[in-house]
């Protein structure tokens, strides 16, 4: 409980550092730190599958991708012309409204909260007998919610096709006599 609070506070500090930092290279490195903190929080919250994904995707692949993009686009950020008072005010108002809204949500780790009473007891009690898979996350992912995962895989596929369409050069071989 305490360790979760400490890690969450560190995450908030890193997020604020990302917001004020202007060197994009530092921002990407801070993003890697942020993802590892997130993965640790997820382990503390018992979401081990998600933590593994976040550590390999957030801290690994997306850091490499952002560095590749910075190499192509340059790492400096221009100074804005005006002080961003309006965005800050908008953000603070939204934060206040959301924080007021959270007071109506169930308390942390409340076993009577709707999230724990609706379909999940059935998954936990029947998954092993019905699928023979002890890891309930895998059972729900691949079997009970197979349609959902099919959709997500299709989205990943579509995003990959989109990147190919945007970035692939049509003529792969350079023309002779052109360039160097």
């Amino acid at each position: 409980m305490l360790i979760i609070a400490v890690l969450l506070t560190l995450m908030a500090a890193v997020a604020v550092a990302v917001a004020v930092q202007r060197n994009l290279f530092s921002v990407v490195v801070l993003g890697g730190i942020y993802s590892f903190l997130m993965a640790t929080v997820l382990v503390a919250l018992d979401a081990v599958d998600v933590a593994m994904t976040e550590a390999s995707v957030g801290a690994g692949i997306s850091t490499v991708l952002l560095l590749g993009a910075l190499y192509l686009c340059g790492g400096g950020e221009a100074k804005p012309l005006a002080r961003p008072w309006l965005p800050l005010a908008v953000a603070l108002v939204i934060a206040g409204a959301l924080a007021y809204g959270t007071l109506g949500l169930p308390a942390f780790s409340d076993p009577q909260a709707p999230i724990h009473t609706h379909v999940v007891p059935r998954y936990l009690s029947a998954a092993l007998a019905e699928t023979g898979v002890p890891n309930v996350v895998t059972a729900v992912l691949a079997s009970y919610r197979g349609y959902d995962t099919l959709g997500e895989t299709t989205v990943v596929f579509t995003a990959g096709v989109g990147v190919i369409a945007l970035l692939r050069r049509i003529g792969r071989r350079k023309k002779p006599g052109r360039g160097q």
């Binding site: 990302v18 018992d46 997306s62 991708l65 993009a69 934060a95 992912l141 990943v156 990147v163």
Partner: protein, 126 residues
């Protein structure tokens, strides 16, 4: 439990969400905007996962001798969302790279200025 202890994870979630939103609307650099968008996204992961935790529970892998498991359903939803998130981040970065090649800049106001200048003299620009 006081409200501060029982709602702390929600408040950090709100803070992360607002930090991401602020980066998206206040900063003109397109790469920075995408990083802000992914911070926004991670706050949603937290919003889903944190209520699923039960103090004293274990990760939802069924085994002898354990009775109390944390909620597996948000884990499934967020697990796929993370991978989709990085794929869409890559798509966004690809668009930014193409914008950089077309305009020579990834600052929002410079791109808008270039667009306005091109509108003013349509005959010469092509």
């Amino acid at each position: 439990m006081t409200a501060a202890a029982s709602h702390y994870s929600y408040w950090i979630t709100v803070l992360l969400m607002v930090a991401g939103l602020y980066i998206v609307i206040a900063r003109g650099n397109l790469v920075k905007k995408l990083i802000g968008l992914s911070i926004f996204q991670t706050s949603v992961y937290l919003l889903y996962i944190a209520p699923g935790k039960l103090i004293g529970g274990t990760p939802p892998i069924l085994a002898e001798g354990f009775r109390l498991y944390s909620n597996p359903l948000p884990h499934v939803l967020i697990l796929t969302a993370i991978v989709v998130g990085v794929a869409t981040l890559a798509l966004g970065l690809a668009i930014v790279v193409r914008i950089r090649e077309a305009y020579g800049s990834i600052e929002e106001d410079e791109i808008l200025a270039a667009d306005r200048a091109a509108e003013r003299r349509p005959a010469e620009s092509r």
